[in-house]
Structure formats: C-alpha cells, structure tokens
C-alpha cells in the first residue's frame, strides 16, 4: 500500500456527522487516511481527479467510498451513477451511509449498482459499531480486484 494512499473517501455535508464518523473510525483504528468531501461535486472531482484534485492520479482510487445521499450541488445518487458508469471507477466499493431508509432511495441505489446500503442509527453506540464493521469489512475482509481501471490508464 503506497504511502499517502487514501483508504476512505467520506462524502458528507454535515460537519457533525463528519466528526462523529471520523470519531468512530479512528477510535478503533480502522482507517487513518480518510478524505472528506463536503458535497457531491467535490466527491466527483476527487474521484476523477478534476478541479482542485487535478494533480491527483486516478490510479490512487480510494479503497472505499462512504456516500451520503442528501448532498449540496450534486446529490449522492448522481455521484454513485457517475462512479458506477465509468469503467475506471466502477470497481471502487461504494457504501451509502445515510439517515433514510426510504424504499425509493434503497431501490434507486441498488439499481445504480451500490455495493451496500446502511442507515445511520440514531444511537451512537450502534452508529459506531456499524461504521466500524463497515470499515473492517470493506478494508480488511473484502477482496478487491487488481485495479483494472488504473492499469488501463497506465497502458494508455
């Protein structure tokens, strides 16, 4: 794992949620290199190395994206759609982590190819356990492919 590689991209507009999520993740040392994008646009820029993230390489894809649905500018579903439509980013595991478990949100997310959908529990203990489990599972348990998108770009 190269130094400085971002393990988790957290897309979350609420600073309180950002703080609570980071608190939960760091408390259990699940992940240390976490990047936070505060809206959908920033998230896409980060993933596709555009705008303020233009100097980044797409090969340095995050190993997990935790994505909220209600986001300013570009909402979570649009972000998900862009990532899953692009062959270079399609393999990045995206987990929706949101307040809602509305049926239509669930359906839309799975149709767009989300890897997992998790509702944020109100109870903090539950929340912490959930986030911890997510981090452990996707970063340690789950086996990712050998970066097809990155290789293609390198070849190009």
């Amino acid at each position: 794992m190269p130094e400085g590689e971002i393990e988790i991209l957290l897309v979350e507009d609420s600073p309180a949620d950002v703080e609570l999520t980071l608190y939960a993740l760091r408390r259990h040392c699940v992940a240390n290199r976490i990047h936070v994008a505060r809206d959908g646009e920033e998230a896409l820029n980060f993933v596709f190395c555009r705008g303020e993230y233009g100097k980044r390489s797409i090969a340095e894809a995050p190993r997990l994206i935790l994505l909220d649905l209600k986001l300013p500018k570009v909402d979570g579903h649009e972000v998900l759609k862009a990532i899953k439509e692009d062959p270079r980013t399609r393999a990045i595991p995206v987990v929706i982590l949101t307040s809602s478990k509305e049926e239509k949100d669930l359906c839309a997310s799975y149709e767009l190819g989300v890897n997992s959908y998790v509702q944020k529990p109100v109870d903090f203990e539950e929340f912490r356990q959930t986030v911890t489990k997510l981090g452990l599972y996707w970063l340690l348990v789950n086996e990712p492919p050998s970066r097809p998108g990155v290789e293609r770009e390198a070849a190009g």
Partner: protein, 564 residues
Amino acid sequence: MMEFFRHLFDSDFMPHGMCYFWNPQIVWLHVASDSLIFLAYTSIPITLVYFARKRRDLPFRWMFLMFGLFIVGCGATHLMEVWTIWHGTYRLTGLVKAVTALASVSTAVLLVKLVPEALALPSPAALRVEVANRKRAQEELERAKEGLETTVGARTRELRELNEQLTAELIERRRAEEELRLQTQALEAAANGILITDPEGRMVWVNAAVTTLTGYTAGELLGKNPRILKSGQQDETFYRDLWTTIQAGQAWRGEIVNRRKDGSLYAEEQTITPVRAQNGAISHFIAVKQDVTERKRTEEKIRKLNEELEERVRARTAQLAAANKELEAFSYSVSHDLRAPLRHIAGFSRILVEEYGPGLDAAARGHLERVQAGAQQMGRLIDDLLNLAQVGRLQLSCRVAGLDSLVEEVLKDLGSDVGDREIDWQIGELPSVECDPGLVRQVFVNLLSNAVKYTRPRPRAVIQVGQTAVGDEAAIFVRDNGVGFSMKYADKLFGVFQRLHLAEDFEGTGIGLATVQRIVHKHGGRIWAEAELDKGATFYFTLGPRGGADETPGPPEPALASEY
C-alpha cells in the same frame, strides 16, 4: 086385463093332447120335435152371443143380439107347445107368442132397415185388395219414414254442431267483451295519458290521465286536433317530421313541450303509433304520453349537481395530490433531516460521557444519559411514524402465507425482549391465509411484543395465540394475562400517540397499534380488543372479509397520514 094376468098360469082349458086324443105316436112326435126345436133354438142364440162377445169389432152387433132374442122367443113357443100338451095354460102360451112376435117383428123391421148399411159393407175380396193396398202403402210409409229418420238424424247432428259452435262463439265473445272491458278500464285508469285520433288527427278517445295532464275535459278535447296543446316551443319542421313519420305508418317517439289549458307549459314523452284497418289504410293514431316535466327538472338538477360535484372532486383531487406530494416530500425530509440532529445529540452526548466522564459528577452524567435516552426515544418515534406512513402508502403484495410460520419467526426475534423471563407460550393452530406476509408479520411483532411487555409484572406470563370463530368469521387472537386495561378506554387503543400506560411503567411510542390497525384495514379485516384491568387483554383481528358477504370492510383510513 088384470084378470088375464091373474089367471096366467091357470090350466082351466083342455090340454092340447086331447086334440091328439092322447094318441101316443102324435103326442110324442110333437113332444120330441118341439123339444129338439127348442134345444136347437136355444143353442143358436148362445152361439151368436158367444160370437158377438168374441168379435167386438163386428158391425151391427146389436143385430145379432136381436136375432138371439127372437130365436130364444121362437124356442120358448116350441117349449110352450110341449107344456100345453099336458097343461091348458093358453094364456101363458099366448103371452110367450106375443113376446116372440114382438121380437120377431122388431127384428124383421130392423133387418130391413139394416139392408142398405149391410150392403155397404165391403166384401172380403174388396177387403183383401184393400188390405194389400194398405200393406203396400204401409211399406212405402215405412220406407219414407226410414229415409226421413236418416235425414232428421243428420239434420239434428248438424243442428247440434251448429249449436255447439254458437255456444263456443258466445263464450268467446263474452270473454272478448270482458277482456275489452278490462282493457278499456286499464287504459282509462292508466297513469300515462292515452289518446286516440282518427286519420285526420281528430281526437276520438282520451283517458283520464290526458285530462289531468292537459287541464282540458274530455268534452273539450274530443273532435279537436291535438294541436290545441301546441306551445310554440317546437318549430314547424318538428311537427312536419312527426306527421310524415306517422303518415308513413311508422311509430314516432319523442319529447314535446305542450301548453295546458291554463297556459302553463309541460314536457311530455310521447309515442304515437298508427293503427291500420283491415284494408291496410291507417284508421287511427294512438298517442301515449307521459309527463316528464318533473323528471326533466330532476335530471337537470342532478346534472348540475354532478357537474358541481365533479368540479369539486377535481379541485379536491388536485388539493389532495398536492397535499400528498407535500406529505411525501415531508416524510422524506423527516426521514433524512430529522434524524440527523438526533444522531448528533445522541452521538456528542455520548462522546461527552466517554471523553469527559471522569471529570463530570453523577448528576451531570445522569443528565447526559437522559439527553441520549430522549434522542433515542425520538428516533424510535420517527421510525414508527415513518413506518405507519409507509404502511398507508404501500400496495399490498399478497400471497398465501401460513400464519403459524410467521408467528414462529416473530417469536424467535422476540428473544431479546423476553430475556430470562418465564413465559408460557400457548400457540394454537393457525390457518394459511392470503395476505401481505411482511405486513402481517408486523402485526404479530406488535401484538406479541405488547403481550410480552404488558405481562412483565407477572412472575409467570401466559401468552396465547390462536384462531377462534367470532360470529361467522374466523378471527386470530393474541391473549395475555398481563396488566390489561379498562374497556372504557378501548376506543383510544388504536389511535396514534394514544397510550394507556405511563412511559416509565411501559415504554412505547403509541404508534404500534395504529400501524397494526392500518395493516388489518388494508387487508379488509377488522381489529378489536377485550380486556379487564389487571386481568389481561385479548386482541382479535381478521384478515379480509371472509366470514360472509355482509361483512363490512374496516372503516375508512383515519386521516392520520395527513398529520405528519
């Protein structure tokens, strides 16, 4: 003369024998001859009398009697001759002779008188001819009679048949007359106006309803043309079309606005039918009219009301659609946005305890715990309300599901609520029914967790689930021996946020039973409870109106969805 008859039988003369000098030969010759003559003369009238008696049809029978009488007289004179030989009773002899003479003369005279009559008597030969003639005539007569009888028989039969035919015709005519009388009465009494006109359109018969309808008397109408009812509301083309139609022998149907005698207008529905005579020409027109003024007024009113109603429905639907959309957005926003601050409250108060706990006193920690508990309760409320709203919006996805396996699953999931409590589960036989299993599972989750919750004060809880017949429908029941409730609050059980217990005694959001009721109603069933304070409670529910056709589905959804 008297002297003569006094000595009638005196024998004072010489006997006649003396004249014969008693010469025996002469005496006995006379005696024998006279006796024989007497006997013969006596036998002849006996024979004649016998003959006359036997042949009562003999002509001149009395003549035979006369002959008899005069022969008897002659016989008697000969007997007297024998007598006078020895006795000189010549007075008696003379009298006998006188009587005989009288009879003889009478007979002779009568006989003479009888001759022409006797001559007129037919001779036996003539009689035979006559008899033959008569026999022939008789035979002819017999033959004629026979022919006549045949003719008479045939004629009688014809007459009988004719008579029968006439009787039948008479009965038929009486029946027809009776029918005609009834029909006339019916026509007269009919609620519809009926009028009959001649081919020129002059009214020849109207019933009572026509006079009621038009205000004219029958006398005022008969002989006139129905155009006296014209209101001017229809143009001439209308009447021309009508007249052309019926003149062509076709029935005309339509609505006409006419004018009553008092000038008021009325609408009538009319059918005019031409009637043809046997020669095919139109002989009459029959018009049947019905006053539709009131009906048209009502129809117009209904039409207006309908329009208004439709307009209102459209407006209301638009409002509702807008409200629904708003609600959906609201519900979505609640789902997302209301939970976030709660999470923050709960999260940061937790962090506060974890990070700064050692520096806080017990009271401060207690307050922070309450903050967390409050946030959690609020979270549950939001979850339950969203679920209730979702149940209202969801389309049922029904399939046949075994309620027993649903209950089994729910019992497994209830484990954490039960803990190490002693609960006697008595699960009876449960049917398989067509339902939305996910929703019905929620019903059992709510009812069973309620039963577990409200039996908490019991050292040994008994919870029964089963099926029972209520009236003619099968109901599922969940019974517990918990704290129950007073039936006077039973109507509040299924209302949102309605709670019959303190939150510190029994936790809850007050939304569970409202959700249960909504699910049951969505299935077309009903739910109710029976309970007694401190004795336990039984909840019954049905899924769908299966018990009978008269089963009314649950009451319409209360307007809960509009409350959040």
